[in-house]
Subunit: 467 residues, 2 copies
């Protein structure tokens, strides 16, 4: 496992724990099991235990926790569904894991304005369930049933981003508790504004390092008149990627387009008990009017045919579509479980779309030489793809091998003017690459903002960069 | 005229002027005429002269200017086309007006990735001229032929924002010269990234207060297969606004939808020598495939008919469309010139779209009682509209009257959960309203960032807020 403990971890003052217990009663817990739950991640990072866990029920709870912790110099690390991939929520310097999952209310949905306000612990699947009868949906879909607060904090995106954007685009406004214990709203509900610095976008993607997000106002979209999903296998990986790039370039408004390589299809078939051909495959979804969707399908089918694509296997009924996308969403777990007892190491990069075919092809060549199972899957319409390694936690040389392959993948993406992380965030795992991507001077601007807004470095310290 | 001089203006050290003259030669000018050109705005603000003007030709020029000025405590105010509306580029504390219009190169267009990089002084019309043969266009269109740097700095949007977003969405990356004289790139070209704080969005809309933008990488879009424009008059203002709101609510992907009230149509007819009926009017543009556009038109025509709309007057030929949108773009000048010798005072607010009908109706009632000509026009699909007053600069009581009406308009928008500025920025004119909109604690976060990144308050000082 990758080392996660921070050498700057300091012992906590027991008086703070007493004060938090007095204020919060049963919401405040220090038992070993609950600390362990909040000290692990889904990825390959070593656990890092918090000193205690606070289950917040309101913005007021968060304010009180912040005031007590900041006064005593105790770190605070917000915690949602725990599905982040880069160790983003691990309390590497100890302190309080601030669990927001009980703050899961859908505060208000406003169908007439296509927006809603939710608490940070609300999850995207529950939100979409709530919205369905209004004819609306929230499109951002990172796969996991993450909390909206966690998704905002890591600037998540996922399968629909090619059409509907990322959390950067979806968030209209945030309620944030600052390190001074103030509660601020970053914006009004208007669809656009030129009123001062874009604090909304500053907090989106800041991984809890600048403040605790407690409420989120989100843009919604009408459920399309027609939705059509299809799966198509390809003779070559290049043919699949070229199909996507060419479809985008002629302006087809794809709603979803996901690539899964042959190994990933093998994993999906095994995990989700399906029978797709085990070749490089694209999962498509088309949204629009009936005639609009028919137009899109005709164009994409023709392009796919010219690039060695097979027949389209359609899923037009809602339950068929749900089954298809459930398989896609479980792809991470499917890939990790290619070996019993393995843990996952997932990396994600994003490049300008014209560079995507060569980027994925060269990555596949790297993986062909790897000694452990590894799959490629990704949101190929954005130029974004993941590699998932299934590693044996008891073989340290596997960790070293994956680190070396990951370095090749990330450096290749950077050489192609891409980014070291399309949607997972920096967390613990990509800090070195952030500097390589943007340069020391750019990262120093980020650190300057962090020092100004959190001068004692208590909000998720040690993430994105170290001060 | 509204008072623009800042009481904190300090005399400039003549040694700095000498050093700048020695470094820059004829690029550096202190003549009265060039200072006057850079010390006025298109709106109602009193002139505020810079001590000198520097015409930058490269990012290196900007770096050298920044280093000399910061060392000597001299303010620097970036200057583009000079078309901003809230006094955003007025050097209220003197110093150097840094004119970027000679940095107008289109550095690279990458049609295969739908992006391009331009220098900050490039203008949107020239960019679109350059892109046309590639089948691409840059959609953000604030009316004026502004520089892309100015548009980024004020988070501009305009007629296409309802479909294509604002400068917030259009900018992929910025090259910025910081107050320390460092040159940073805020992001890579990848379409999305989760790599650290979103500095791109922090600088977009920061009005030159945090750094000088010298290059911009922009998202582009394919020119639609079919473009169709139409004008439609309405019996009532409410009928026009309801048509837009209902069209958005059923999901019609309008590319442009602009409202002009009867007085504005009178001004447009007179200024642009046209013969439209002088009633509340919507200007539409539809983008898509042939059948997609036909579908959109059918839906919107039906909604317009049900809301008292007349016949659609179509402009399908490119030269007809150009004439129509030229008239729309000149609407500001047309409105100001309803009285000879008048100056313009323009305000802009943006509200959630469900509140727009009542917001515009109540505003129209305010204007009916005003003693000077005033028009309403706006990007009604975003919930954003402008009011343009044509005022006599020699009658101070007119200024006071407009200030009072403006206060009513802005407070009404805030009461409806809207913003005090949809697209003009805060500049000098909306500083009080920024605090009212977001609260003192939110604005204090902005000030904290400003102090951290520009500790001597030399980058466009006195704008957005005072420290």
């Amino acid at each position: 496992m990758q080392h996660s403990q921070d050498f700057q971890r300091k012992p906590i003052d027991p008086a703070v724990l007493d004060a938090l217990a007095a204020r919060f009663g049963a919401q405040f817990q220090t038992g070993a099991a609950v600390r362990a739950e909040h000290g692990r991640s889904e990825a390959h990072f070593e656990p890092a235990l918090p000193d205690a866990v606070l289950f917040a029920r309101s913005t007021g709870d968060v304010v009180d926790c912040v005031k007590l912790c900041v006064a005593a110099g105790v770190p605070i690390v917000p915690f949602g569904a725990g599905t982040s991939i880069e160790g983003n929520a691990l309390p590497v310097r100890g302190g309080i894991s601030l669990d927001l999952t009980a703050m899961n209310a859908i505060v208000e949905a406003r169908p007439e304005d296509f927006d809603c306000t939710v608490q940070a612990g609300a999850r995207r699947e529950e939100l979409n369930h709530h919205l369905r009868d209004m004819g609306l949906f929230f499109p951002i879909d990172p796969g996991a049933n993450a909390t909206l607060g966690g998704m905002a904090s890591t600037r998540a995106s996922g399968t629909n981003a090619v059409r509907y954007g990322t959390m950067r685009d979806a968030v209209l406004s945030l309620k944030v508790v600052t390190p001074e214990g103030k509660v601020i709203d970053t914006a009004r509900r208007a669809r656009k504004s030129a009123a001062g610095y874009d604090l909304t976008r500053l907090y989106v993607g800041s991984e809890g390092t600048l403040g605790i997000i407690t409420e989120i106002t989100l843009r919604l979209h009408p459920i399309p008149e027609t939705i059509s999903s299809a799966v198509c296998g390809f003779e070559t990986l290049k043919g699949a990627v070229d199909t996507v790039v060419q479809s985008i370039q002629i302006g087809v408004p794809l709603a979803r387009v996901e690539i899964l390589d042959a190994k990933q299809m093998e994993a999906v078939n095994r995990w989700s008990k399906l029978d797709y051909p085990e070749v490089t495959t694209l999962f498509f979804e088309f949204h629009g009017s009936g005639s609009g969707v028919a137009e899109q399908i005709a164009m994409v089918s023709e392009i796919a045919g010219a690039n060695g694509g097979g027949e389209f296997r359609w899923s037009n009924l809602p339950e068929e579509r749900a089954k298809l996308w459930k398989a896609r969403h479980e792809a991470y777990y499917a890939a990790v479980n290619l070996r019993p007892g393995a843990v996952g190491w997932s990396t994600d990069v994003c490049v300008p779309i014209s560079r995507l075919p060569e980027c994925i092809e060269q990555t596949q060549a790297d993986l062909a030489r790897a000694s452990m199972p590894a799959t490629i899957l990704g949101h190929v319409g954005d130029g974004n793809f993941h590699v998932i390694f299934s590693i044996d936690p008891n073989q340290p040389e596997e960790m070293a091998e994956v680190e070396a392959i990951n370095a090749r993948i990330v450096r290749r993406a950077l050489d192609m003017e891409g980014t070291c992380t399309g949607e997972h965030g920096i967390g613990l795992g990509k800090q070195h690459w952030l500097v390589e991507e943007l340069g020391e001077d750019t990262v120093e601007i980020m650190r300057t903002i962090k020092r100004a807004l959190d001068p004692r470095d208590l909000f998720n310290p040690g993430k994105i960069f170290t001060l």
